[in-house]
């Protein structure tokens, strides 16, 4: 099991190797893709949540991932963000960064931000503090102890607050926000991390139509500068933002392509309609 993982790792690493000079901390996207998932298998007591899943995301791409319940969407995110170790397979961030060897905080530092399915913010902190905590900076214990906020950092937070339209709520506890506002705050926190890749698990669940529309606009404006992976059930939302859609089913990719092609794919229809 480990052998296959290493084997694939070296073969895909070979092409990179010394050929490009990549500064540490930078993601090497010289081949166009920012994320490679190859042959990833995760099983829980015999049940295969992911079954040799392979997937590549291009830099600057906005990819939607859909699939029925139990298709493995959340497990896939868990693997990419370091929460779950796969039984087999490789996950590379850019050409050089092996995500399977890294912990969650390290992956976050490398430039992957994740929004949970259930909006997760620090409820007893204010909205401002939430963004401050998420802001990209040295996050070690000692620097936290000595940290004082700077004027530029205040500006950045103010900017993001505006972006997610929570300026007026900056001083209240995040736990008091509405469901949709929490979703936005969480997205704002991701933006504060300045990630290269954003992974968003059901970002518009519980949002009003107007909020959903604004979210779609936000995502479209982010694409290009950032890469986004959006997992969503809301088909209207998906078709409003999607350029390329991947359908997962039983832990593997069932279909991949533009939304209109996917919508007419026989297998996809069968999976979704159950016959």
């Amino acid at each position: 099991m480990t052998q296959t993982a290493e084997g694939t790792a070296s073969s895909s690493g070979d092409t990179v190797g010394m050929a490009h000079m990549v500064r540490p901390g930078e993601v090497d996207i010289s081949h166009g893709a920012i994320l490679y998932v190859e042959g990833v298998t995760v099983s829980f007591d015999g049940f295969k949540a992911l079954n040799k899943l392979s997937l590549a995301i291009d830099a600057g791409e906005l990819r939607c991932i859909i699939g029925p319940n139990g298709a493995g969407k959340t497990t896939m995110m868990d693997v990419i963000t370091g929460k779950t170790q796969p039984d087999a397979g490789t996950v590379f961030f850019g050409q050089t960064i092996d995500l399977l060897k890294m912990s969650e905080p390290e992956i976050a530092h490398a430039g992957i931000g994740r929004k949970f399915q259930k909006p997760t913010v620090f409820e007893s902190h204010t909205v401002f503090e939430n963004l401050e905590l998420a802001m990209k900076m040295d996050k070690g214990v000692w620097s936290s102890l000595r940290y004082r906020i700077s004027a530029e950092q205040r500006d950045r937070i103010a900017e993001t607050l505006e972006h997610i339209q929570l300026e007026s709520r900056a001083g209240i506890a995040a736990g008091l926000l509405s469901h949709g506002q929490k979703q936005w705050l969480e997205i704002g926190m991701l933006l504060m991390q300045d990630p290269k890749l954003l992974m968003l698990d059901e970002p518009v669940a519980g949002m009003t139509d107007a909020e959903t529309e604004r979210t779609a606009e936000l995502f479209l404006s982010l694409a290009g500068r950032h890469s986004l992976i959006v997992v969503e059930h809301d088909m209207d939302f998906v078709s409003s933002i999607a350029r390329k859609v991947t359908v997962l089913h039983e832990g593997r990719v069932l279909a991949e392509g533009p939304m209109d092609v996917i919508q007419n794919d026989e297998r996809v229809i069968e999976v979704y309609l159950g016959r």
């Binding site: 829980f44 007591d45 949540a49 959340t74 497990t75 929460k83």
Partner: protein
């Protein structure tokens, strides 16, 4: 000279006497002589009676020991609570108490009487009494008895008594000045089942301060080593079995202590720090039932457990249901708060019991059928009460399995633990299932308490001493895994008992705790937990 010294000499003399040809009636002259003023004359009389070898003299001697042998009008009589009898012929006499005259029995005479009784018992027809007498001789044999024991051996027909007598003779033989005699004695002792024999032999191999050995002869020492090896090798299997059994028994105790928790904590996820007190309540219920039986049905005392088991279950379950409805249900989803609250409950329960029953431990008497044990040989005895605990643990596991898998409550419980909201939607009364399940867990803890009352002290702090162990068992086995709990409890019991000879009981327990802490580091969800999304959350 010490009392035992007198006793040995007297015994030696009496044994001789006992083996002489027997007369068939108590010698009237000798009996009369027992009343003599002079101590030596009394001793001579005792001697003569033993020489005649009539076991009827045992009763006479016993009466004399209890100061029941007295003089009336110059006749020797036996005075009991029922009346006065002639010592020789046994006819009942009517005697005014003030006419009786005591016979003085000093310590020297008492010692002689002890020995005389022991000696006569070696020849009583009842095998059991002969066996006991032979044991006494084997345990406390002086050199002077050797010839007597050897002669008793010739007459003895029972194999077991014979072996004992032979060993008694051999133990004396060890002190013989003749090396060959000693060697033969060692050989005989090598066959012994008596655990003390090994020490006797090991003593021969000890070094004396001047550099030699206690046993000067090399051949005897070699024989002794051989004998010790023989004893050891015969003891290996029984001792191993014994350790396995006592490990199993400790495991069963842990299991009984933890099973209730496996339901309340394992299945329901409630951190019940008052679990130990449910054990305590079960134990005190047993105590009360036992006390009631002693008072009102002393004849049926041995059967009190039949009532105690359901009573303990009911009382603990009731307390559990009250707690769940009154306090715990307000804290679902807040495990740390539950922990503190239930700890508070445990303090209140402890104090309550302390006020009702006192701070001291109470005495819970085992039924008679639980005392004693079954010998495996090699000095290993399996105590019946431990055996009963193992069986009882199996019974409780079976009961629990049936309740969880064969009843509606079990079905509901499994549904509720898997998906509370869904179960509620399907019309399962989840609050009632919660209460009943917590009651079931508490009741089973009460059953554990019945078991604990039979093997240890019952006091207000009983629960506190089991709470850490119980949690360790459930956590180690994997939360929500009943089979895991069973395996964890039994293996902890075994590990503990196998470590004990090397590390001592306390250090063994510490090692086990450290082991558990390490295992949990490696497998935070316990040894047998399922891996999956739900478990990771």
């Amino acid at each position: 000279m010490s009392l035992t010294g007198y006793r040995k000499i007297a015994l030696a003399a009496l044994l001789f006497a006992a083996l002489a040809p027997r007369a068939y009636a108590l010698d009237a002259g000798a009996v009369q002589q027992l009343a003599a003023e002079d101590g030596d004359a009394k001793l001579a009389a005792i001697n003569r009676l033993v020489t005649e070898g009539d076991v009827a003299a045992i009763g006479l001697f016993k009466a004399m020991q209890d100061d029941g042998l007295q003089i009336f009008n110059g006749r020797v009589v036996i005075v009991t609570g029922d009346g006065v009898k002639d010592a020789i012929h046994g006819e009942t006499l009517v005697v005014p108490p003030d006419k009786l005259e005591a016979i003085v029995v000093n310590n020297r005479i008492r010692g002689a009487l002890d020995s005389a009784i022991a000696a006569l018992k070696l020849i009583v027809p009842q095998r059991a009494e002969r066996l006991a007498a032979a044991r006494a001789v084997a345990a406390d044999a002086g050199e002077e008895m050797l010839p007597l024991i050897e002669r008793a051996l010739e007459k003895e027909t029972d194999a077991e008594v014979k072996t004992l007598l032979a060993q008694a003779a051999a133990a004396i033989g060890l002190k013989s000045p003749v090396a060959e005699r000693r060697r033969l004695a060692v050989q005989v002792l090598g066959q012994s089942e008596n655990p003390q024999t090994k020490q006797l032999l090991a003593a021969l191999l000890e070094k004396t301060p001047d550099g030699g050995y206690t046993e000067p002869d090399a051949a005897v020492r070699e024989e002794a080593q051989k004998a010790i090896r023989a004893i050891d090798s015969r003891a290996v299997v029984p001792q191993l079995l014994g350790t396995v059994f006592y490990g199993l028994s400790l495991g069963s105790v842990l299991l009984l202590a933890a099973l209730g928790l496996a339901i309340t904590f394992g299945l329901m996820g409630i951190i019940n720090m008052a679990h130990g007190e449910m054990l305590m309540i079960g134990a005190y219920t047993t105590y009360v039932v036992q006390a009631l039986f002693r008072q009102y049905f002393p004849g049926a005392f041995d059967a009190y457990l039949i009532v105690a088991v359901p009573a303990a279950f009911a009382v603990s379950a009731l307390v559990g249901i009250v707690l769940e409805r009154g306090v715990i249900r307000h804290l679902y989803g807040r495990p740390l708060e539950t922990l503190l609250t239930t700890w508070g409950i445990s303090l209140v329960l402890i104090q309550l019991v302390r006020m009702l029953f006192g701070a001291q431990n109470v005495e819970v008497e085992n039924p008679a059928w639980m005392s004693g044990g079954f010998s495996l040989g090699g000095g290993v005895v399996l105590a019946y009460n431990r055996l009963v605990i193992v069986v009882f643990a199996a019974f409780v596991v079976l009961l629990m399995w049936l309740l969880l898998n064969r009843t509606r409550l079990g079905l509901y419980l499994r549904a509720v633990t898997q998906n509370r909201a869904m179960a509620g939607c399907m019309g399962i009364p989840t609050p009632r299932v919660d209460a009943l399940t917590f009651g079931l867990g508490s009741g089973i803890a009460g059953l554990g308490g019945v078991a604990l009352s039979q093997i240890g002290n019952v006091g207000p702090d009983l629960g506190q001493s089991y709470i850490v162990d119980s949690f360790m068992v459930v956590v180690l086995g994997g939360v929500g895994q009943l089979a895991g709990t069973i395996i964890a409890a039994l293996s902890l019991g075994e590990i503990n008992k196998f470590l004990e000879p090397y590390a001592g009981a306390v250090l063994g327990k510490i090692i086990v705790l450290v082991f558990i802490i390490l295992v949990i580091q490696k497998r935070p969800q316990g040894l047998f937990a399922l891996r999956g999304r739900s478990a990771e959350a």
